[in-house]
């Protein structure tokens, strides 16, 4: 009955050899391909670096003006716009301006990449049930696998720096926009699509004139979630050498700097709230046609 006493596990030596084999072949892979993969991501690197430089080179009053202006354009609310401006003033006054600019650059670029890849993937998924059943588990993995587990191979391949950090952020933040784009497109009323077909719409007209506009509220909820998740990754990204608000937070954990941790943590929260409120208000405005009543 020894079968039931002890789990029939693999021999310890075999298991060790298996792990070693995987490790060494990945090392081999990263040695031979690492450079070309790094070169492949170079444009991304320059994009991120230059965007960050641009933000840092721009005089601070202009940045605050832009922040307040964009907040107002998105939300049409003076209160929110003033709140955003005051938050940025406080951040600057407390000496966190440069780190905040780095973080804003990272989040903006990450969100941009997630949208650029996530929406087309979501569109493709909504068209094919087979593709959906293939991609959904991948999204599940991206969202639930412990971040350090995929940080390791990324760092092995690309080393420490901005690009691996950006990739880590994107892996974690992309699933919501893919999922919600897919969901939003699938929820579009069948009868409206039939009407679009009956008037002779081709695939592009149907997608851009009918499906995407009607799915926009859901897609926008996805964008919002993606931004939030990207911000949540800021501290972890700092562990692999991404500059920004995460770095001082990491330092404060290691050295028990309570005030430093608090300030930078709250700066991240302030960014999150501004991004969230503005994008939500904007999403709501996109749906104003759903309201009845005659006073719009």
């Amino acid at each position: 009955m020894s079968l039931f006493d002890k789990f029939p596990a693999m021999e310890r030596t075999d298991l060790r050899d298996l792990k070693k084999g995987i490790d060494s072949s990945f090392k081999e892979f990263s040695r031979s391909w690492g450079e070309s993969i790094e070169a492949f991501f170079d444009p991304l690197f320059y994009f991120l670096v230059n965007f960050e430089k641009l933000l840092l080179a721009t005089p601070w009053p202009i940045i605050i003006g832009i922040v307040a202006g964009l907040s107002y354009l998105g939300s049409r609310s003076w209160k929110l716009s003033a709140g955003a401006a005051i938050s940025f003033l406080a951040i600057g006054y407390l000496g966190m301006w440069e780190n905040t600019m780095s973080t804003v650059a990272l989040i903006s670029v990450a969100t941009f990449i997630c949208i650029a890849f996530g929406i087309p993937i979501g569109v493709a998924m909504s068209k094919s049930d087979r593709l959906q059943s293939f991609i959904t588990p991948i999204l599940d993995i991206m969202q639930t696998i412990p971040i350090f587990v995929y940080l390791l191979p990324v760092v092995m391949l690309l080393g420490i720096g901005k690009v691996p950090g950006l990739i880590a952020v994107c892996v974690y933040a992309m699933p919501p926009i893919v999922r919600l784009t897919n969901l939003g497109l699938r929820l579009v009323d069948k009868e409206i699509l039939e009407a679009a077909d009956a008037f002779g719409s081709n695939y592009r007209q149907r997608l851009f004139k009918v499906q995407l506009p009607l799915a926009l509220p859901n897609i926008f909820a996805g964008v919002n979630q993606t931004i939030m998740m990207a911000l949540a990754m800021v501290v972890i990204a700092s562990m692999i050498g991404v500059k920004g608000l995460g770095v001082p937070v990491l330092q404060s954990i290691q050295n028990q700097y309570l005030a430093l941790g608090m300030m930078n943590g709250l700066a991240i929260v302030a960014l999150a709230i501004i991004f969230d409120r503005v994008s939500q208000k904007y999403g709501k405005r996109l749906q104003r046609h759903r309201e009845g009543g005659n006073d719009v």
């Binding site: 009407a195 679009a196 008037f199 007209q205 759903r290």
Partner: protein
Amino acid sequence: MSDYKIEIKNLYKIFGPNDKDMVDLVANGLGKQELLDKHRHVLGLNNVNIGILANSINVIMGLSGSGKSTLIRHINRLIEPTVGEIIVDGENVLEMDKDKIRDFRRFGASMVFQNFGLMPHRTVLENGMYGLNIQGVTSGEAEKRTKHWLNRVGLSGFEDRFPAQLSGGMQQRVGLARALATDADILLMDEAFSALDPLIRADMQAILLDLQAELHKTIVFITHDLDEALRIGDDIAILRDGELIQKGSPQNIVLKPADDYVADFTKDVNRARVLTLNTLSHEAGSKEGLALDGDLPIEQAMQQMVDSKYNLVTVMKDNKPIGQVSLRDMVGAISRPKATESGSTKTYR
């Protein structure tokens, strides 16, 4: 044959994975229920042959599940047939390739839907312009034409509203304007007024009849409501379980129901409103009666007879007498007929 704008020939639609194999079985008399029980296929349309008259309102009627909505979707091929032909202006719609069918939908046939099918994110004007946008008409021209049709259906001043801000009747007027704006010869109306309340429905029927008097489109109108069919139809086809049961003029349907199913349909109809003097008119005798036009419904003729001292009508056409109808004929005609026979010993013209 050339009077027919659309000819539907030997059309079968069977829903299921092996639909083509089932056609022979159905053609050899396998019924809907047996097909479902034995072969797990659903019979949608069973050997339908209908000629759709040009420039008139063709009503296709049946209860839910009779295949009427399936049939109308074959005309612009929103549903693919199992086998059959649909000839529009000499061309088989069912053999058109993708580009051609798209062009046919853009320019040849437009559609009005039961639940309106409006796009909630577009304003009334933008909804009306949809077909023209798809056709590639420049936006200025499209706006001008759409405004004209919105005006015709009584929606001037509502151009910037969203559909959710309109009542059902107004939404369907947008649907109608959208369909008319494309200038297609064929108008497919799938239970277009069924979702509206009775008063609004009567309004919409009046609007449609008004427009049709001027536009002379070929309209295929689906409904489950016989009163509606009789009111607007120039020609009525009745479907049951995917089969054509009877086709004819409204008077014909009411006077000579082909079977019990149709008789059942027609039993509650206000016959006096459907039948005209023409349908009852027979050889004139020597007696002179009240001179009335042949197109007058019996309901109104009876009223006029009661007001006068005649109990005989001389039926007139272009101010010439063409026959006569007695009060007795009228009473006989509005009493309920038995199925499968003419309902009266009189021979009607």
